[in-house]
C-alpha cells in the first residue's frame, strides 16, 4: 500500500490543489480537495471549482497555436481568480499548484506555465507538472470509481488504448497517423460546419439524422488503427457530393436514394467508432479486463458510449464514462492528478517546468499506485 500522507502538513486533515490546463483550445482552472488517507468510495476527492474558457476558430478553420495562446493569456488570470472565488479557498490554504506540462501545442502550453510559475512564487507554493493524459485517466477513475479499467483516450490530438501495469500507464494500441478528434474536426471543416460548441459535437448531431451506411475503408492493424486514408476517402465523397456528381457510389445500393451529408457523418462515425471499440475489446481480451473507461473530448459522443457499452455488456463487463465537465479538457483533472503526485513526493523546480509537446503517457512513473 502506498503511503499517501508522507508529505502531509502536520495538523492539517486535508490537501488543496489548484490546477491549470491549456494544452489545446480549452483553458481550464480547477480546485480540488483530498482528505488524508487513500482515496476510495468512502473518501472521495471533492471538486471545489472547475471553470473553463474555450477558444473557437471560425467555421472551416482549425485553431492555430498563436491565436489559442493569445486567448489563454487573455483569460488565465481571470479564470484563476474565478476558480478561487468559486471554491472559497484562501491561497494560503493551498498545498500545491499544478499545471499541464504536456503533451499539447507549444505556445498555448507556454502561455499557461508562465502564469503558473509567477503565481507559485507569489504564493510560495510548490509546482507540479502533470501529463495531460494522466490527468484524464486519474480524473476518470476518480469520478467513475473504475478501479483498473482499460482506458480509451480519444481527443483532438490523441487516440490511445491504455492499460495500467507495473506502475505505468502503458499504451497498448494507438493511431498510426492522425487522431480521431482531428479526423472528425477536419471532416467538419470540409463540410464547413461551425466549430461551436465543438466540431465533433456538430458531426454527432448530423450523424443522428443519417440512415444510409456508405462503405468506407476499415483499417484496424492489431491494436493500432489508421485513419488518414478514411478521411481522405470520405473527404473525396463529400467533394463529389457538393460538386453535384452523379456517380453510382453517391446513391444507396438498396433504396437508390442519393447520399446526404448526414449519411456521410453517420457512416464516418459508425466506421471509426467500430474500429475504436474493436481495438479496445482487443486490449481488454489481451489484459483480461472487463472494465473500460472512456476519456478525452471525443469520449462525450453518445454513440461511441453506446457502442462501447454494448461491447462491454457482451463481455459481462461495464463501461465508465464522464460527462463534458470532465471528458473535455479541464483544470480539475490537472489539479487531481497533480495532487496525487504531490502526495507521493513529486514537485518541479522552476527550471524544471519547461513544457514538452510530446510528453508520452508511458513516461510517467505512477508512484501513487502499486497494484
Amino acid at each position: 500500500m502506498v503511503d499517501m500522507d508522507a508529505f502531509a502538513k502536520p495538523g492539517k486533515p486535508y490537501y488543496l490543489a489548484l490546477g491549470m490546463e491549456g494544452s489545446a483550445n480549452k483553458l481550464g482552472v480547477g480546485v480540488i480537495k483530498h482528505h488524508l488517507g487513500p482515496l476510495d468510495e468512502n473518501n472521495r476527492a471533492e471538486i471545489l471549482a472547475n471553470v473553463r474558457s474555450t477558444y473557437n476558430a471560425p467555421p472551416g478553420q482549425g485553431f492555430l497555436p498563436r491565436d489559442t495562446a493569445r486567448h489563454h493569456r487573455n483569460w488565465v488570470v481571470r479564470l484563476v481568480e474565478k476558480a478561487l472565488k468559486d471554491s472559497g479557498v484562501k491561497v494560503s490554504d493551498l498545498d500545491c499548484l499544478c499545471f499541464t506540462q504536456g503533451p499539447g501545442m507549444g505556445a498555448p502550453l507556454q502561455s499557461v506555465v508562465v502564469a503558473a510559475r509567477t503565481l507559485s512564487q507569489l504564493w510560495e507554493l510548490p509546482l507540479v507538472g502533470v501529463n495531460h493524459c494522466i490527468g484524464h485517466i486519474e480524473m476518470g477513475r476518480e469520478i467513475t470509481g473504475a478501479r483498473n479499467p482499460v482506458v480509451l483516450y480519444v481527443s483532438g490530438g490523441n487516440t490511445q488504448v491504455i492499460a495500467y501495469s507495473r506502475q505505468r500507464y502503458r499504451i497498448f494500441g494507438e493511431t498510426l497517423d492522425i487522431a480521431i478528434g482531428n479526423c472528425l474536426d477536419r471532416f467538419a471543416r470540409t463540410l464547413h460546419i461551425p466549430n461551436d460548441p465543438s466540431p465533433g459535437y456538430n458531426i454527432e448531431q448530423l450523424a443522428r439524422k443519417g440512415k444510409h451506411l456508405v462503405e468506407l475503408p476499415y483499417t484496424v492493424k492489431g491494436m493500432d488503427l489508421s485513419m488518414s486514408g478514411i478521411l481522405e476517402y470520405v473527404d473525396g465523397l463529400a467533394h463529389d457530393l457538393f460538386s453535384g456528381k452523379k456517380s453510382k457510389y453517391l446513391y444507396d445500393e438498396e433504396d437508390g436514394e442519393r447520399i446526404t451529408v448526414e449519411d456521410l457523418c453517420f457512416s464516418l462515425q459508425e466506421n471509426l467508432f467500430s474500429m475504436l471499440v474493436e481495438i479496445t475489446e482487443r486490449a481488454m481480451a489481451h489484459v483480461d479486463s472487463n472494465q473500460v473507461l472512456i476519456v478525452g473530448g471525443v469520449g462525450c459522443n453518445e454513440r461511441l458510449q453506446e457502442m462501447m457499452g454494448i461491447m462491454a455488456g457482451d463481455r459481462n463487463g461495464s463501461i465508465y464514462a464522464t460527462d463534458e465537465r470532465f471528458c473535455i479538457d479541464n483544470g480539475i483533472m490537472i489539479a487531481h492528478a497533480g495532487l496525487l503526485a504531490y502526495r507521493v513526493g513529486y514537485g518541479n523546480e522552476l527550471e524544471d517546468t519547461v513544457c514538452r509537446q510530446k510528453f508520452r503517457t508511458d513516461e510517467v512513473y505512477v508512484k501513487w499506485r502499486d497494484d
Binding site: 491561497v91 502561455s111 507569489l122 517546468t353
Partner: protein, 96 residues
C-alpha cells in the same frame, strides 16, 4: 507599463550574433523583478546558435538582453517575451 531601451547595432566583433536589443523593465519592487526573471527565463530558445537571451536583476529593474544573427530573430523572441511579460504583470496586479 515599463521603459524600454532598444539599441539594434551591427558591431564588428567576430561573433555572428551581430544584433542586440536590451529591455530594462522597472517593477514596483525587487521581489517582483526577481519573480519575473524566474518566470520568463526557464524556456529554452528554438535556435540557441542564432540567438542568445540573458536576464539579470538590478534592484527593481529586470534587464533582458537579446543577441542574435538578425533583427528578425530578435523580434520574434522579444515579442514572445513581451507577451509572457503581460501575463506576469497581470498576476502581480491581481494577486500581489
Amino acid at each position: 507599463m515599463s521603459t524600454v531601451v532598444s539599441t539594434a547595432t551591427s558591431s564588428a566583433t567576430p561573433t555572428p550574433l551581430t544584433h542586440t536589443l536590451e529591455f530594462k523593465i522597472p517593477f514596483e519592487n525587487e521581489k517582483q523583478s526577481i519573480i519575473a526573471k524566474n518566470s520568463l527565463s526557464p524556456d529554452p530558445l528554438l535556435k540557441p546558435d542564432e540567438l542568445k537571451v540573458s536576464f539579470s536583476n538590478d534592484g527593481n529593474v529586470l534587464k533582458i538582453t537579446f543577441r542574435g544573427t538578425s533583427d528578425r530573430m530578435i523580434r520574434v523572441a522579444a515579442n514572445n517575451i513581451m507577451d509572457n511579460l503581460k501575463t506576469v504583470l497581470e498576476c502581480f496586479e491581481v494577486f500581489d
